[in-house]
């Protein structure tokens, strides 16, 4: 019954997501997806996996196939050339489909936000992915150019609801 509910795209509600996140709490496997990044953020992701930060103490492990992954580590501003591969890779990820957009490129497009060759960050294509039937259950944005290894670990903790996020929308009047 549970498996049937998961496979149905329409009936996967936020309650089911919470249940799935509880199941995922034990340890998550990550898949690294580069969409035209400058390799800065990729090196930081490698840093997180080295013995210095040793993220395997939290059970986080890098896998080679999106079919094995719980979380997709997405870097880069999503160039036009990588878009078909991105769609293919994200379609292969099982539900709940979690994405960690790392670096200012993936969050807001960085200096390429207006470029003809990029889509200017992950937020711009979420709706189009939904139209294609690839529903992204949760996205966590990790700004930074490149994002610090600590910031990436913090982002994973925010994704798994272990801590509450610090940043909130602010509006100040002079």
């Amino acid at each position: 019954m549970e498996v049937q509910r998961q496979t149905n795209l329409e009936t996967f509600s936020s309650k089911d997501l919470e249940k799935a996140l509880q199941r995922i709490k034990k340890s998550i496997w990550v898949f690294h997806l580069n969409t035209g990044s400058c390799n800065g953020c990729d090196i930081e992701i490698l840093d997180v996996l080295t013995p210095w930060f040793d993220v395997e103490r939290f059970g986080i492990k890098l896998v080679a196939s999106p079919r094995h992954a719980d979380v997709v580590l997405l870097t880069g501003p999503i160039t036009i050339k990588t878009l078909p591969r991105l769609v293919k890779a994200l379609r292969a990820v099982p539900r709940p489909r979690l994405v960690l957009a790392i670096g200012s490129c993936a969050v807001g497009g960085n200096i390429w936000f207006n470029s003809y060759a990029t889509l200017g960050g992950f937020p711009n294509i979420i709706d189009k992915l939904n139209e294609l039937g690839i529903i992204i259950d949760k996205v966590v944005y990790v700004p930074g150019c490149p994002a610090r290894p600590e910031a990436i670990i913090y982002g994973v903790a925010v994704m798994l609801n272990l801590i509450k996020q610090k940043s909130h929308y602010k509006k100040v009047k002079t």
Partner: protein, 165 residues
């Protein structure tokens, strides 16, 4: 196999290198640059930071009755150019880097300014605070020209000169 054994005494000598990140404080040096913070009591809304910002993370726009200086942390590259260029020293570089959020909306910071309307055409062209500052600096500037937008000011100046002849 024999080669691997050589690693063991080295590993024993070095010991554990892993940092205890969530519990131990991360390494943050004095020169580290994190997210910026705009001091709303000092900012005049001149827009110097929006011009220098390489990815245009800072942007100035006039919406309705207010001018908004919008800072999008998601696009910021933490270069600190805005803090260098700010004439009022209103922008401060903080050490904050744990900025992860679930919504893009949470990564925006807005600073609202009051706007002066042009006395002739009624368009909004500058923040009132910047106009006051300019008024203090330029004592001999004719007052009736100060409250006109750049286009109307040009027309006013030209019409004055033509009438004189």
């Amino acid at each position: 196999m024999v080669k691997f054994v050589k690693v063991i005494p080295i590993a024993v000598k070095v010991g554990t290198v892993t940092i205890k990140y969530p519990y131990a404080k991360p390494l943050v040096t004095d020169s580290f640059r994190g997210a910026i913070e705009v001091n709303p009591s000092k900012c005049t809304g001149c827009g110097a930071c929006t011009r220098i910002c390489p990815p245009k993370a800072l942007s100035m726009s006039i919406e309705g009755e207010t001018a908004i200086l919008r800072y999008f942390i998601g696009r910021c590259i933490f270069c600190g150019m805005c803090a260098d260029v700010c004439p009022e020293k209103a922008i401060k570089i903080t050490k904050e880097f744990e900025l992860a959020s679930e919504q893009v909306f949470d990564l925006y910071v807005d600073v609202e300014h009051e706007v002066v309307t042009c006395k002739r055409c009624g368009s909004k062209f500058v923040t009132s605070r910047l106009l006051n500052k300019v008024e203090q600096k330029l004592e001999e500037f004719p007052k009736e020209l100060l409250y006109l937008c750049p286009r109307c000011r040009r027309i006013e100046m030209l019409s004055k000169q033509t009438y004189l002849r």
